[in-house]
Symmetry: C2
Subunit: 378 residues, 2 copies
């Protein structure tokens, strides 16, 4: 297994990006990920009950089709809280993409990130579509990885090469940050492409599990976005023996977990205004769910996060958050170990002395810069 922090497309994939004018800055804002072969898809979405229009459309396609060839992503506008108009706008972007690529509509998946509550300018997307499709190349991933960003300060990318049997297989993923960064900005997005041949059921399970231990274990401000999505295509182009179980599945899952965890950590590192990367381990809980609940309660405590920013080793705030978690944890069951606060990475270990459950979550500190970024209107 070989890992590089760079996006290298697997066999049979191409990508492209253009600046179609959704971002006022004139930066890249429209990305297309394309598989030459019909591919399996799997996805995990936000659990927010108010979700963006493109997610509603993509969910429908995932229910009604079995193979997919394109993912269209725009930044600069989340197309969320936009009502029926937003839905028909999202549908229109699917149609532009399908027509230009000569595909069925339900083989196209879509995503949006950016301002919430404003109408998406679809004529800009329509105009840009021919150029976007003409530009599809293997190297295009390097433009696409930037086109999905909003106010991230760096691109988030990773590629793992592994062997399934004797066949080389690649998993490549790009992501954009979770920090609800500039005004009205939201959304964590991750796109994972692989040329592995794999069964639909094991793919779904592997992705769900990888996300649970990575993207669902990070929190920046406790605010759940309306657009959060992790989406994966597997096109089988590497020709490996179908992954269904055993050592092959184990290897593939390990690689997928690594990809997701690396990107999740990058998202935390790039959280707006953050000066610290915080790792919280909760062990000896009644069960894993309790451990994760306690860890997230600490990770979302404003008082803990400001204390870390101030390099102020405040055990009381950790204890207070543990007690507030809703689990009936007694003071006598609680052991707190807080590492040095001086460096960039801070480690907190909490033992609950009542079982074998454990969880690890990642978060950042809370800084005046976060407030500044999120208060400013532009």
């Amino acid at each position: 297994m070989k890992k590089v922090f760079k996006a290298n497309l697997p066999l049979g994939f191409k990508a492209s990006a253009v600046a179609c004018g959704l971002k006022k800055s004139g930066k890249l804002d429209l990305a297309l990920l394309y598989s030459e072969l019909p591919a399996l898809a799997s996805a995990q979405f936000t659990t927010n009950s108010i979700i963006a229009a493109p997610l509603i459309i993509s969910k429908k396609h995932l229910r009604t089709a079995k193979r997919f060839q394109a993912i269209l992503v725009n930044s600069g506008n989340a197309n969320c809280f936009t009502g029926k108009t937003g839905l028909s706008d999202a549908q229109a972007t699917v149609e532009f993409t399908a027509r230009e690529l000569g595909l069925k509509k339900n083989s196209v998946l879509i995503n949006s990130t950016g301002i919430i509550g404003r109408r998406l300018n679809i004529s800009k997307i329509k105009l840009a579509m021919p150029k976007l499709v003409r530009g599809l190349t293997v190297e295009g991933i390097n433009a696409a990885k930037n086109a999905i960003l909003t106010t991230d300060t760096f691109s988030k990318e990773v590629t793992i090469d592994l062997q399934i049997g004797k066949c080389p297989v690649k998993i490549c993923a790009i992501a954009k940050g979770a920090g609800m960064v500039a005004p009205h900005m939201a959304t964590m997005l991750c796109f994972i492409l692989t040329d592995a041949r794999i069964g639909q059921n094991v793919l779904d399970k592997a992705l769900k599990s990888a996300v649970a231990d990575s993207f669902n274990c990070i929190t920046v401000d406790g605010c759940m976005s309306t657009n959060d999505t992790v989406m994966m295509l597997a096109n089988g182009a590497s020709g490996n023996k179908m992954i269904l179980k055993g050592k092959d599945l184990q290897n593939f899952s390990t690689a997928l977990n690594t990809v997701c965890l690396d990107l999740a950590k990058m998202v935390v590192c790039d959280a707006e205004g953050a000066t610290k990367f915080i790792q919280i381990d909760v062990t000896q809980a009644r069960n894993d769910a309790e451990a994760k609940g306690v860890a997230l309660e600490i990770a979302n405590s404003l008082l803990f996060k400001t204390a870390v920013f101030g390099e102020n080793p405040n055990f009381g705030r950790v204890a207070s958050a543990v007690g507030a978690s809703g689990f009936k944890i007694k003071e006598t069951q609680l052991q707190i170990k807080l590492g040095s606060l001086k460096g960039k990475t801070v480690k907190l270990s909490v033992k609950l002395l009542r079982g074998q459950g454990k969880a690890r979550v990642f978060t950042s500190d809370l800084t005046p810069e976060y407030i500044k970024i999120n208060a400013e209107y532009n």
Copy 2:
């Protein structure tokens, strides 16, 4: 019913305060509230599972005794997360108080606020006790109301005069702020004194209901303290016909609700770093619990609070918080009306179009000053 924003003790109560040295600043830090007659007590405590030693002791006394005559409160140290030593220290402060006043130990209630996780210096309290008791006067409430403060910027006090039958009755209350203000500081405290004669059961119900609609409807940073307490004594000195039901109970409850709501609003106004007072009304929810859940989710959203600080009318952040509340609310059921953000008071109204439930909560904005105050170590 006549209301003044000043503490005037009801009949049969005296108060006193001294600076015993728990606060490094040399300010008042030990308060005593005393009833000449044995009084009924009622209390509401934090639901944090890790609670401070004085709360454990007070809860025990409330279970084992029926009448009470004294409440001792220190600021500067919360006596929380202090283990068995903390419990015996709290017990010792009860003994000092009971001995000096000639009372049974379980007729004394205690409370602490300040630094979490450090041992309380009880010898300072022991030394100060004779002077504290000698100083008991009707006017002493003006010292006591200041002695319970930590980093509050103003004292919080209110008195209501009402008639029960033809008998004048007084309800007087003092509070300290909920903002987890200076380093390690925590705790919202409120003490309510009345000379009304009232049944224990109706007193308990009236207080619980008043707290539910006031102190339990405010949030500054979503951090639940280990010491939060609302404590009430009713000594019956006014000689009114016992309040048990009907119009008398209704009048008394109205006055008690008003006292609690006024103090709760003052606590929000005095939240650390706050520049805005935010009122959130959620209506047409399935039921009141759903309305309150949604309102608190918005009130605790960092993105909403920073948007208000920045006077940035951001509907998307409200919609996102509603969707994240855990109730399955659809976009089509949601109407958001956000008043002007320019003034000191901001009003947000959210309609869910699915029932008759409603709730009103109060919060403050989130500012760089909050971070600064809570990050600094001293």
